[in-house]
Assembly symmetry: C2
Homo-oligomer: 130 residues x 2
Protein backbone atom coordinates (compact mmCIF):
# COMPACT_ATOMS: atom_id res chain seq x y z
CA UNK A 1 0.00 0.00 0.00
CA UNK A 2 1.20 3.50 -0.82
CA UNK A 3 2.23 5.85 1.98
CA UNK A 4 -0.56 7.98 3.36
CA UNK A 5 -0.54 11.28 5.17
CA UNK A 6 -2.59 12.55 8.05
CA UNK A 7 -4.53 15.48 6.75
CA UNK A 8 -7.14 17.52 8.50
CA UNK A 9 -9.66 16.40 5.90
CA UNK A 10 -8.92 12.73 6.52
CA UNK A 11 -9.50 13.18 10.23
CA UNK A 12 -12.68 15.12 9.60
CA UNK A 13 -14.05 12.36 7.38
CA UNK A 14 -13.34 9.63 9.90
CA UNK A 15 -14.68 11.71 12.76
CA UNK A 16 -17.84 12.52 10.81
CA UNK A 17 -18.58 8.83 10.28
CA UNK A 18 -18.04 8.16 13.97
CA UNK A 19 -20.28 11.10 14.91
CA UNK A 20 -23.05 10.22 12.49
CA UNK A 21 -22.92 6.59 13.65
CA UNK A 22 -25.69 5.16 11.50
CA UNK A 23 -23.82 4.13 8.34
CA UNK A 24 -24.02 7.50 6.59
CA UNK A 25 -23.83 8.05 2.85
CA UNK A 26 -20.89 10.04 1.45
CA UNK A 27 -23.33 12.88 0.89
CA UNK A 28 -24.29 12.88 4.58
CA UNK A 29 -20.64 12.84 5.58
CA UNK A 30 -20.00 15.76 3.25
CA UNK A 31 -22.87 17.83 4.66
CA UNK A 32 -21.83 17.07 8.22
CA UNK A 33 -18.26 18.21 7.68
CA UNK A 34 -19.28 21.28 5.73
CA UNK A 35 -20.87 22.78 8.83
CA UNK A 36 -17.47 23.16 10.48
CA UNK A 37 -15.23 23.17 7.42
CA UNK A 38 -17.20 24.67 4.54
CA UNK A 39 -14.43 24.42 1.95
CA UNK A 40 -14.12 20.64 1.90
CA UNK A 41 -14.96 19.15 -1.45
CA UNK A 42 -17.09 16.15 -2.18
CA UNK A 43 -14.25 14.54 -4.11
CA UNK A 44 -12.09 14.67 -1.01
CA UNK A 45 -14.82 13.02 1.03
CA UNK A 46 -15.15 10.19 -1.48
CA UNK A 47 -11.39 9.77 -1.75
CA UNK A 48 -10.92 9.67 2.00
CA UNK A 49 -13.79 7.28 2.58
CA UNK A 50 -12.15 4.93 0.09
CA UNK A 51 -8.78 5.30 1.80
CA UNK A 52 -10.29 4.61 5.23
CA UNK A 53 -12.11 1.56 3.90
CA UNK A 54 -8.90 0.28 2.31
CA UNK A 55 -7.09 0.77 5.59
CA UNK A 56 -9.77 -1.25 7.35
CA UNK A 57 -10.88 1.62 9.58
CA UNK A 58 -14.36 1.67 8.06
CA UNK A 59 -16.57 -0.89 6.41
CA UNK A 60 -18.25 -0.31 3.09
CA UNK A 61 -21.93 -1.19 2.96
CA UNK A 62 -23.26 -1.95 -0.51
CA UNK A 63 -26.84 -0.77 -0.75
CA UNK A 64 -28.88 -1.96 -3.73
CA UNK A 65 -30.41 0.83 -5.82
CA UNK A 66 -29.01 3.72 -3.86
CA UNK A 67 -25.90 5.40 -2.57
CA UNK A 68 -23.48 3.17 -0.74
CA UNK A 69 -22.70 3.76 2.89
CA UNK A 70 -19.87 3.37 5.34
CA UNK A 71 -20.11 1.74 8.72
CA UNK A 72 -17.95 2.47 11.74
CA UNK A 73 -18.89 -0.92 13.21
CA UNK A 74 -16.22 -3.30 12.02
CA UNK A 75 -17.65 -6.62 13.17
CA UNK A 76 -19.73 -8.57 10.69
CA UNK A 77 -23.39 -7.63 10.80
CA UNK A 78 -26.24 -7.07 8.39
CA UNK A 79 -28.45 -4.23 7.26
CA UNK A 80 -31.96 -3.59 6.11
CA UNK A 81 -33.13 -0.69 4.00
CA UNK A 82 -36.64 0.72 4.13
CA UNK A 83 -37.83 0.90 0.56
CA UNK A 84 -40.16 3.76 1.47
CA UNK A 85 -37.97 6.22 3.36
CA UNK A 86 -34.59 4.88 2.26
CA UNK A 87 -33.10 4.71 5.73
CA UNK A 88 -30.76 1.85 6.62
CA UNK A 89 -30.91 0.00 9.94
CA UNK A 90 -28.94 -2.77 11.57
CA UNK A 91 -30.51 -6.22 11.56
CA UNK A 92 -30.91 -7.98 14.86
CA UNK A 93 -29.42 -11.33 13.99
CA UNK A 94 -26.20 -13.22 14.67
CA UNK A 95 -23.27 -13.43 12.31
CA UNK A 96 -23.89 -16.17 9.74
CA UNK A 97 -20.50 -16.31 8.08
CA UNK A 98 -19.81 -19.85 9.24
CA UNK A 99 -23.23 -21.14 8.21
CA UNK A 100 -23.05 -19.49 4.81
CA UNK A 101 -19.57 -20.79 4.10
CA UNK A 102 -20.58 -24.28 5.13
CA UNK A 103 -23.38 -24.27 2.59
CA UNK A 104 -21.03 -23.78 -0.33
CA UNK A 105 -20.79 -27.14 -2.07
CA UNK A 106 -18.26 -26.36 -4.74
CA UNK A 107 -16.40 -23.13 -5.35
CA UNK A 108 -15.71 -24.16 -8.95
CA UNK A 109 -12.18 -22.85 -8.57
CA UNK A 110 -13.30 -19.48 -7.29
CA UNK A 111 -11.32 -17.72 -4.59
CA UNK A 112 -14.18 -16.36 -2.55
CA UNK A 113 -13.19 -13.10 -0.93
CA UNK A 114 -16.28 -11.73 0.70
CA UNK A 115 -20.03 -11.77 0.71
CA UNK A 116 -22.84 -9.39 1.39
CA UNK A 117 -26.21 -10.12 2.93
CA UNK A 118 -28.71 -7.31 2.65
CA UNK A 119 -32.40 -7.03 3.48
CA UNK A 120 -35.12 -4.82 2.08
CA UNK A 121 -38.47 -4.05 3.67
CA UNK A 122 -40.67 -1.39 5.20
CA UNK A 123 -39.75 0.19 8.52
CA UNK A 124 -42.25 0.55 11.40
CA UNK A 125 -42.79 4.28 10.86
CA UNK A 126 -43.48 3.94 7.15
CA UNK A 127 -45.78 0.94 7.49
CA UNK A 128 -48.01 2.63 10.05
CA UNK A 129 -48.35 5.76 7.90
CA UNK A 130 -50.56 3.88 5.47
Amino acid sequence: MAATRNTIQRDLVLQAVLDLKNHPTPEEVYEHIRKQHPTISKGTVYRNLNVLVDKGLLLKVDVPDSANRVDHTLKSHYHIRCKTCGRVFDMDMPDMTKEIKSMIRDTNGFEIEKYGLFFTGVCPQCSEQK
Copy 2:
Protein backbone atom coordinates in the same frame (compact mmCIF):
# COMPACT_ATOMS: atom_id res chain seq x y z
CA MET B 1 -50.91 -3.09 -11.81
CA ALA B 2 -51.54 -1.07 -14.96
CA ALA B 3 -52.51 -2.83 -18.16
CA THR B 4 -49.62 -3.88 -20.35
CA ARG B 5 -49.42 -4.51 -24.08
CA ASN B 6 -47.57 -7.10 -26.03
CA THR B 7 -45.12 -5.25 -28.16
CA ILE B 8 -42.43 -6.62 -30.41
CA GLN B 9 -39.85 -4.90 -28.25
CA ARG B 10 -41.14 -6.52 -25.08
CA ASP B 11 -40.88 -9.95 -26.67
CA LEU B 12 -37.41 -9.19 -27.98
CA VAL B 13 -36.21 -8.16 -24.53
CA LEU B 14 -37.54 -11.27 -22.85
CA GLN B 15 -36.22 -13.52 -25.62
CA ALA B 16 -32.80 -11.86 -25.43
CA VAL B 17 -32.51 -12.61 -21.72
CA LEU B 18 -33.50 -16.23 -22.35
CA ASP B 19 -30.99 -16.50 -25.21
CA LEU B 20 -28.14 -14.89 -23.31
CA LYS B 21 -28.89 -17.09 -20.30
CA ASN B 22 -26.13 -15.89 -17.97
CA HIS B 23 -27.78 -13.01 -16.15
CA PRO B 24 -26.96 -10.33 -18.72
CA THR B 25 -26.70 -6.63 -18.04
CA PRO B 26 -29.19 -4.27 -19.74
CA GLU B 27 -26.32 -3.20 -21.99
CA GLU B 28 -25.76 -6.79 -23.12
CA VAL B 29 -29.47 -7.24 -23.75
CA TYR B 30 -29.47 -4.06 -25.80
CA GLU B 31 -26.49 -5.12 -27.92
CA HIS B 32 -27.98 -8.56 -28.47
CA ILE B 33 -31.30 -7.20 -29.72
CA ARG B 34 -29.66 -4.56 -31.85
CA LYS B 35 -28.21 -7.22 -34.13
CA GLN B 36 -31.69 -8.16 -35.36
CA HIS B 37 -33.57 -4.97 -34.56
CA PRO B 38 -31.14 -2.06 -34.84
CA THR B 39 -33.65 0.67 -34.04
CA ILE B 40 -34.46 -0.43 -30.49
CA SER B 41 -33.50 2.13 -27.91
CA LYS B 42 -31.73 1.59 -24.64
CA GLY B 43 -34.55 3.29 -22.77
CA THR B 44 -36.98 0.71 -24.12
CA VAL B 45 -34.71 -2.10 -23.00
CA TYR B 46 -34.53 -0.68 -19.48
CA ARG B 47 -38.25 -0.04 -19.35
CA ASN B 48 -39.11 -3.52 -20.52
CA LEU B 49 -36.66 -5.20 -18.20
CA ASN B 50 -38.35 -3.38 -15.34
CA VAL B 51 -41.80 -4.41 -16.57
CA LEU B 52 -40.75 -8.03 -16.90
CA VAL B 53 -39.22 -8.01 -13.43
CA ASP B 54 -42.40 -6.46 -12.00
CA LYS B 55 -44.46 -9.15 -13.71
CA GLY B 56 -42.26 -11.81 -12.13
CA LEU B 57 -40.99 -13.15 -15.46
CA LEU B 58 -37.41 -12.19 -14.67
CA LEU B 59 -35.40 -11.73 -11.51
CA LYS B 60 -33.34 -8.66 -10.81
CA VAL B 61 -29.83 -9.34 -9.58
CA ASP B 62 -28.26 -6.50 -7.61
CA VAL B 63 -24.56 -6.40 -8.28
CA PRO B 64 -22.44 -4.25 -5.99
CA ASP B 65 -20.37 -1.61 -7.77
CA SER B 66 -21.50 -2.39 -11.27
CA ALA B 67 -24.45 -2.65 -13.59
CA ASN B 68 -27.32 -4.72 -12.32
CA ARG B 69 -28.37 -7.86 -14.13
CA VAL B 70 -31.47 -9.88 -14.83
CA ASP B 71 -31.80 -13.59 -14.39
CA HIS B 72 -34.15 -15.89 -16.26
CA THR B 73 -33.83 -18.47 -13.47
CA LEU B 74 -36.67 -17.72 -11.10
CA LYS B 75 -35.84 -20.03 -8.23
CA SER B 76 -33.80 -18.60 -5.37
CA HIS B 77 -30.08 -18.92 -5.93
CA TYR B 78 -26.95 -16.88 -5.38
CA HIS B 79 -24.27 -15.26 -7.48
CA ILE B 80 -20.60 -14.47 -7.36
CA ARG B 81 -18.84 -11.76 -9.29
CA CYS B 82 -15.20 -11.95 -10.32
CA LYS B 83 -13.64 -8.70 -9.24
CA THR B 84 -11.04 -9.01 -11.97
CA CYS B 85 -13.06 -9.72 -15.11
CA GLY B 86 -16.45 -8.62 -13.81
CA ARG B 87 -18.33 -11.70 -14.95
CA VAL B 88 -21.09 -13.10 -12.76
CA PHE B 89 -21.55 -16.83 -12.09
CA ASP B 90 -24.04 -18.93 -10.19
CA MET B 91 -22.96 -20.22 -6.80
CA ASP B 92 -23.14 -23.93 -6.18
CA MET B 93 -24.98 -23.95 -2.88
CA PRO B 94 -28.48 -24.70 -1.65
CA ASP B 95 -31.16 -22.14 -0.98
CA MET B 96 -30.67 -20.65 2.49
CA THR B 97 -33.86 -18.67 2.83
CA LYS B 98 -35.15 -20.76 5.73
CA GLU B 99 -31.85 -20.64 7.60
CA ILE B 100 -31.48 -16.93 7.13
CA LYS B 101 -35.03 -16.19 8.25
CA SER B 102 -34.61 -18.38 11.31
CA MET B 103 -31.59 -16.35 12.38
CA ILE B 104 -33.56 -13.13 12.61
CA ARG B 105 -34.08 -12.48 16.31
CA ASP B 106 -36.22 -9.39 16.19
CA THR B 107 -37.54 -7.55 13.19
CA ASN B 108 -38.05 -4.39 15.28
CA GLY B 109 -41.35 -3.86 13.52
CA PHE B 110 -39.89 -4.18 10.06
CA GLU B 111 -41.85 -5.89 7.33
CA ILE B 112 -39.03 -7.79 5.68
CA GLU B 113 -39.70 -8.18 2.01
CA LYS B 114 -36.64 -9.73 0.48
CA TYR B 115 -32.95 -10.27 0.90
CA GLY B 116 -29.91 -10.54 -1.29
CA LEU B 117 -26.85 -12.69 -0.76
CA PHE B 118 -23.97 -11.91 -3.06
CA PHE B 119 -20.38 -13.13 -3.23
CA THR B 120 -17.26 -11.50 -4.59
CA GLY B 121 -14.03 -13.24 -5.51
CA VAL B 122 -11.64 -14.16 -8.28
CA CYS B 123 -12.67 -16.66 -10.93
CA PRO B 124 -10.45 -19.62 -11.96
CA GLN B 125 -9.35 -18.04 -15.26
CA CYS B 126 -8.34 -14.75 -13.66
CA SER B 127 -6.53 -16.33 -10.72
CA GLU B 128 -4.35 -18.54 -12.93
CA GLN B 129 -3.38 -15.62 -15.14
CA LYS B 130 -1.19 -14.20 -12.39
